[in-house]
Amino acid sequence: MATSIQSSTVAADRFVNAVESDLRREGRLGALFAVPFQGGTRLSAILSSFGAFKIISCNIEPGHGTYPALSAITPAANWYERQIFDLHGLMPANYQSLDPLVIRKGLESDPTYKPDEDLSERRPDLSEPSVEGEGLFKIPLGPVRSGIFESIEYVIETPGEEILHVEPRPFYKHRGIENNFSGRSFGEGALLAERVEGVSSVAHAIAYCQAIEQLSDSEISPQAQLVRVIHAELERIANHLESMVRHCEAAAQAVAFARFSFYKEQIMRLRADICGHRFSRGVVSPGGVTIPTTLDLNAVSKRISKLEADIDSSVNLLMKTASFLDRLRGTGVITTKQSRLFGTLGPVARGSGLLEDTRSSHPYSAYRHLGFVPVRETSDGDALARQNVRIDEIAGSFHLLKQALDGLGDLKTPGDEWRIKLNIRDGESLGWAEASQGEVLYLVIVDSGRLKTVRQRSASFHNMSVFSSAFPKDITTDFAFIEASFGLSVAGVSG
């Protein structure tokens, strides 16, 4: 089953209607990208439904500066509109909020990000607390936080215990990474994609490379596809274990913390032994994978089986530890309704009853031929549900790993089949992959054999927009669990 991609361009005043009618038919808003186009801007809404992506675009005339707001029909669009205003100065008509998201007032140093001279003046100040009342105060958590965290500020509004509102401010880390793609070669683009969200290097590189490969109409070799699967699944296990480690740390489960961080280290070492890099960087490249120096299938198989058994036994013990489960149960609930409204991704979506996984709903590469272990159905939407989803996904990843290793063993591997030569035509193309955080999207525009524009949407960005909805009745000590159960990378949010 191939995933269908439909593109259409509509007039600017028809844009909202076109998106709305698609959203009604079981679609979700995957992303909203702004791309420079003939002096003006082209807005592309990526809509996703089972087995299909739809790109609905509209062109905004130069100097027009405003466009019809999608946040009027779906809250999922709000963060994209704030991001597009920060980066391109385009102001949505009848918007909900334009609070600075990725660039803060006074810190816009990137000249290409300033199409309007007066953008800095138009940029709103950071908003004041939205909740008012006696005894309420706000805790600025970050950007320099206690512990080894990425820089982000959460403004927590609270009367002391309960969390009434959380406002994430990810702009501290903004690196202008999308601009950095422009003009680079395809190979360099893959290296940069790996650094957009470093903990999901492989998923980003795969999404990017698949977009490039679509523009050449050639399929990479089966063994390259399987090697990509191996690295992507090891990365998923490492990320899920990281989430477990954070949970155990927050719950002061010292032995469990030590165990899971030990397993994670073993996964990282296994990755390094297979490809020479602990984050599998430099493996996935346009046309396939770099030639593996060492890949002893039997040895890898053995280590994977041992790890699977070890992790499984520790997980079983942990999920019977009442003092741990008590902290997760009912914490940070995202209801199915909220999840659907925001079109959440990855474990956050699957924990609240939406079972979409890009690997099976929009199958790509070797995933088309591999068997999946389904994750348990749950619509609790709390940190425990997300944790359970991760546990099932770890088991699923091991299952996929074994199939991929078997598949590689069956294939005869001629030397030059790892990376094929691509003839890449100019044009626009969409690539996607399932990272451990959820679906990653890349919109790539190629002109004269170089990258002209690249837009990426990490799952972290999309899921972070629903983060503040996860505090209906939680207290400040739950914060660490909710953050760990989301498992997001700030680098992917601020770009």
Binding site: V144, S151, R175, R195, E197, V199, F262, K264, V490, G492
Partner: protein, 262 residues
């Protein structure tokens, strides 16, 4: 009770580094080796295609700046006769210029002076080191490698190293990331809040030079170097946990530049 048994089930997992060498760290490909043979070859296409312009072919011998290199292997792909990966996790240096390989004799002499000065400054820290980390626009991987230092394998507490929440308790500042504009004020403030004596370690190629983000207008020109005074540079994208541990020990002078405890 089941956790007690679980905790002791695998015996001691902790590495003996730096007292004894560690097999894993030594296989880490953390550096680029330039073969002294075939030097007549034209390398301009290799230098040109390096994604971070880390290769200098202007000199009589080609040089690679590890402060820029992201170890992607592009040069090795193109010209395996001259470039190859070099297993070396102890690649952290006390001087930015020393990251250019192969090093020269003058480099070594200068290093001795830098080292002596740093040693005098931080000698009171040797047995108890509190570390504060600040992310200044990293891609998130450096944070994983730093927090790996607390796992049972590296277990840095055995060496008297702890991570602290407050910069006022910190002796060493670990900085990651390419110096994003939004973090510069916070970084400087954190540095100022630290008591003397203090040392700063730039962790990863991004922090040393900006790496692939070097020319981005949203990050500092040269990573965090120049924003605050950096004492130790750890190359790598990201560096390995052993590489970071070596840098911490190097900063407080409990290890020699050759990896032996002193």
């Amino acid at each position: 009770m089941p956790w007690v048994l679980k905790g002791i089930s695998d015996g001691i997992l902790t590495s003996k580094y730096p007292r004894k060498s560690d097999g894993y760290g030594e296989t880490w490909r953390g550096s680029i080796k330039i073969s002294p043979n075939n030097l007549g070859l034209d390398l301009s296409h290799v230098a040109k295609s390096c994604p971070t312009n880390a290769i200098n072919i202007e000199q009589t011998h080609p040089q690679v700046d590890l402060g820029l290199c992201i170890l992607c292997g592009n040069c090795i792909d193109l010209c395996g006769d001259i470039f190859s990966f070099q297993p070396d996790f102890e690649s952290a240096k006390l001087d930015r210029d020393l990251l250019v390989v192969p090093e020269t004799v003058e480099d070594r002499e200068r290093l001795r002076a830098v080292r002596a000065a740093l040693y005098l400054r931080v000698r009171t820290l040797r047995r108890s080191i509190a570390i504060r980390h600040v992310d200044c626009g990293s891609d998130g991987s450096e944070e994983w490698e730093i927090s790996a230092l607390t796992n049972p394998i590296y277990d840095v507490q055995r060496l008297g190293i702890t991570f602290t929440a407050s910069p006022r308790h910190a002796d060493i500042l670990l900085v990651t990331g390419s110096g994003s504009t939004g973090m510069i004020d916070s970084l400087k403030e954190t540095y100022l809040q630290m008591p003397h004596p203090k040392a700063v370690i730039a962790v990863g190629t991004d922090a040393i030079s900006g790496g692939m983000h070097r020319n981005s207008a949203s990050t500092a020109k040269n990573g965090v170097d120049g924003l605050i005074p950096v004492d130790v540079y750890v190359p790598g994208s990201p560096p390995s946990p052993f590489g970071i541990l070596y840098a911490i020990l190097l900063a407080v002078g409990t290890i020699s530049n050759r990896g032996k405890p002193c």
